[in-house]
Amino acid sequence: MNDVLILGAGPAGISAALYTKRANMSTIVLHNNQSNLQKAYQIDNYYGVGKISGKDLYQKGIEQAKALSIPVFEEEVLQITEEEGFTVTTTKNVYHAKNLVLATGKYRKLPSIPGLKENIGQGISLCAICDAFFYKNKKVAILGEGEFLHHEAIILQKVTSDVTLLSNGKEEKDSISKKIENVEVSSGVVVTFEDHTKMTFDGLFLAYGVSDIDTLSSTLGIMKEKNFIKVDENNQTNIPGIYACGDLTGGTLQVAKAVYEGMNAALAIIKKEGKK
């Protein structure tokens, strides 16, 4: 069991890792190499670094962590569960930790298809494990991408054999890749594609990764406030042992704020675990 597992290798995640590692806590960082920071062309206003591209700053952070022998792994997270600590399953491994730091940024993966977000909970679900119960032997579709799409398909195939994979314009194995124009809920979930053809399902599951805020809320029961994760003065969420920092908690979306919150969460964990 690790002391700390950190999801996200941007300023918030790496900042947290530097503090917990230096307090002799076993620390692992996982990321998917899709940080918003990498998209920043040039950063002029971050203290001590001068002009730097977002991509270079991101890499510098990871190198700094590795120099302290902090494992930083690029792995897609498929599932997070809680039972005597937290278990994080990725495409390659299963990790256990007493504390979890969520620092995955504001990368919005859910596609902006009309009718999607509005109907979550009314035929559209963000969590196969949570809602598969309601679709036994029914006709379902999963809209998503990557390993996560297939991971959620396996869960649904345990309750029904009628599972269709949709990938909205992306090429994914065994899926219908046509782009979707809109989704309506009326006597089922009606998916209209850009070629005007339609398919109707009893339910539609979204599979764009666990680190989406709405998905975290659905699966782990993390409290949101508007579009951000709600945290206290220690950057702890409503779940003891789970912390959130950086862009995930909203406010000023800046590197300096993310670095501070990563440190803040780490210091809270260090104090809680009685380390120095």
């Binding site: 979550i120 909970g121 949570c130 809602d131 809320s217 659905s218 699966t219 029961g221 409290m223 409503n238």
Partner: protein, 103 residues
């Protein structure tokens, strides 16, 4: 007031044939968000003695879940005199859940 656990034996009395204000919490033991919301529901129940609060375990009451069109949990349903007035789904702060029973 304490939250009443619904069973096959009491659901007719407590929900179907009941009048007045009823708040129903549809949940399952394996549902993490349901566990987080449960203490919030208990608090709201204490503060609103004029409303009857009940909880329905969907594993044990599948038919009831289907009758109310439950497609995700937690789902909270507010009824007055036998009719569904409003519904809310998922995780939310106490203030937002309270809106379900406020006029």
């Amino acid at each position: 007031m304490k939250v009443i656990e619904i069973t096959k034996e009491n659901y007719q009395k407590e929900i179907e044939n009941a009048e007045g204000k009823i708040f129903i919490d549809f949940y399952a033991d394996w549902c993490m968000p349901c566990k987080r919301m449960s203490p919030i529901v208990d608090q709201i129940a204490e503060e609103n003695p004029d409303v009857k609060f009940v909880k329905v375990n969907i594993d044990e009451n599948e038919d009831l879940a289907r009758t109310y069109g439950i497609m995700s949990i937690p789902t909270f349903v507010y009824m007055e005199d036998g009719a569904v007035v409003s519904k809310k789904i998922g995780m939310m702060p106490k203030e937002e859940l309270m809106n379900l029973i406020k006029k």
